[in-house]
């Protein structure tokens, strides 16, 4: 098959008939990505905080978790949760099993990124907050976390795009996401090359803008543009007051 055959081959796939499949697959892929990322971020933060705890008893389980899930293939986790757990009476839906697998796997990586970010905040920041009478919760929420998020952003962004691509592994449990739809279309049209090229291009078309906008977000925060409404309001108020005092 020559390259020009590949090109005409695209025309032999009735794309119009499969637009619905592809659209649905894309929606499922995004649903898996968002649900899994939120879960992984929450669990990852919890694990990071546990690993920074003073008590060894708290640190140890979190460290153990991270090491286990960092060193096991994602596919093995997917198979254990979907095919393995039913034999001990835990029967999860495809969506639940898929999300759980991705959460378990990516929480381990995110916890490493978050831990490094929180540990990277200078101890003087905590002291300054303490000396100003700020409580522990407020100090974490208003002083440590905003700074840690800035440090964690680049690594977290990479993980987000990686997670989106890894949802394609859920094809093995027929998750109805983009890759599963691709497999279906390819088997019906016998045009594997063309179909998988198109699906790969769709992954790219989604991932590239996402990673670029996350980079933009990084640069915006780095440039000191306040993102929260409260901060913008306070800065506006300060500017108004200053303009009034120095005409």
């Amino acid at each position: 098959m020559s390259p020009s055959d590949v090109f005409t081959g695209f025309l032999h796939v009735p794309w119009g008939d499969y637009a619905g499949n592809i659209g649905w697959g894309l929606a499922r892929t995004l649903a898996y990505t968002v649900a899994s990322f939120l879960g992984a971020a929450v669990l990852g933060l919890l694990l990071a905080l546990m690993r920074l705890n003073r008590l060894r008893l708290v640190r140890l389980p979190a460290a153990l978790y991270t090491e286990v899930f960092k060193n096991v293939p994602l596919l093995a986790i997917i198979f254990v949760t979907y095919f393995g757990l039913p034999s001990v009476g835990i029967k999860l839906s495809v969506f639940a099993a898929g999300v759980l697998s991705l959460v378990l796997f990516y929480a381990a990586y995110l916890s490493e990124i978050f831990r490094a970010a929180i540990a990277g905040i200078h101890s003087g920041q905590n002291e300054a907050a303490q000396a100003l009478g700020l409580g522990r919760g407020t100090t974490f929420g208003h002083v440590v976390l905003p700074q840690a998020l800035r440090l964690a952003l680049p690594g977290t962004n990479t993980m987000f795009v990686d997670l989106l691509k890894s949802t394609s592994l859920l094809v093995t449990i027929s998750a109805a996401e983009l890759m599963t739809q691709a497999q279906l279309i390819a088997s019906e049209t016998f045009r594997a090359l063309e179909v998988y090229l198109v699906i790969a291009a769709i992954y790219f078309a989604v991932c590239y803008p996402v990673s670029q906008s996350l980079l933009w977000l990084e640069r915006t925060i780095q440039a000191g543009v306040p993102l929260s409404r409260g901060r913008r309001r306070r800065l506006r108020l300060a500017r108004t007051l200053l303009a009034g005092e120095t005409p």
């Binding site: 300054a128 306070r234 800065l235 005092e245």
Partner: protein
């Protein structure tokens, strides 16, 4: 004006900070071995001495960033700790009354100058947003930084950062301010600016305790100088007496060393 003068008079009448028998050890190593000190209201007291001599630890006990092992500290007549236990019921309130300015400023780098001054007002003192911002702008104007109010700390010089740190501490309305080596990270010009701000605060009746190695600065700014060595007060007195006519041999050696190197 008259009202103000009366307040200063009242403040100077009794000690703002009283320390009796203060002891503190770290991992079995004694850092403070029984300190007695009175800091009268409205005065600037410099604590000088070798590194590791306990002067920073002494100051950090006054706002309970360090918890003493023994002894009593009173702030404005109220005991905040006694016999190794914290007796101050409201730490947040203590830290509103006793402000602190750090050697490395420790400003919050993710917030602009004005937001640095606003944060604790809103989240520690429960002041409303509008009032907090108004007060922050007023204080930044007072320390000569109105034009830098919406700048981030990393874009500011050391002296500017130090003045934001002072405004941040002042925002909670303290009666006592603690300065940990306020000029060691500053160039001479910035030191002059910080000196000016401290003198204005002194004129308003603020009690200030500072730890410093810079004897010329201590001479310029303080009313009273305390020399600490080995966790004990070796000598104290008016700035000119201690720095120019030290009585104790150890004070003489220290003053000679730092006068030569400074």
């Amino acid at each position: 004006m008259t009202q103000h003068a009366v307040n200063v008079e009242a403040a100077t009448a009794r000690p703002a900070v009283t320390i009796r028998g203060l002891r503190k050890s770290f991992d079995g190593r004694q850092v403070l071995g029984g300190i007695d000190l009175d800091v009268p209201g409205g005065r600037i007291v410099s604590i000088i001495g070798q590194s590791g001599g306990g002067k920073t630890t002494l100051m950090r006990c006054v706002n309970l960033l360090e918890q003493p092992d023994d002894g009593v500290i009173e702030v404005n007549g109220e005991a905040i700790c006694a016999g190794g236990a914290v007796t101050c019921k409201d730490l947040a309130r203590l830290r509103q009354r006793v402000g602190m300015v750090f050697q490395r400023f420790n400003l919050f780098p993710h917030l602009t100058a004005v937001e640095n001054v606003v944060l604790a007002q809103m989240h520690a003192a429960g002041i409303g947003e509008r009032e907090a911002v108004e007060r922050a702008v007023r204080l930044l104007t007072r320390v000569g930084l109105a034009h830098r109010a919406t700048a981030y700390p990393e874009r500011m010089s050391g002296g500017e950062q130090q003045r934001v740190a002072i405004a941040r501490a002042l925002a909670l309305g303290p009666t006592v301010l603690l300065f940990d080596e306020p000029t060691s990270a500053l160039d001479p010009e910035s030191t002059g600016e910080v000196l000016r701000v401290m003198r204005e605060l002194a004129a308003d009746g603020m009690t200030m305790i500072l730890v410093t190695h810079e004897l010329p600065f201590a001479r310029e700014v303080s009313d009273w100088v305390v020399f600490i060595d080995g966790g004990k007060i070796i000598e104290q007195g008016a700035a000119a007496d201690v720095l120019d006519r030290p009585r104790e041999a150890r004070t003489r050696a220290y003053v000679a060393k730092y006068a030569a190197s400074g």
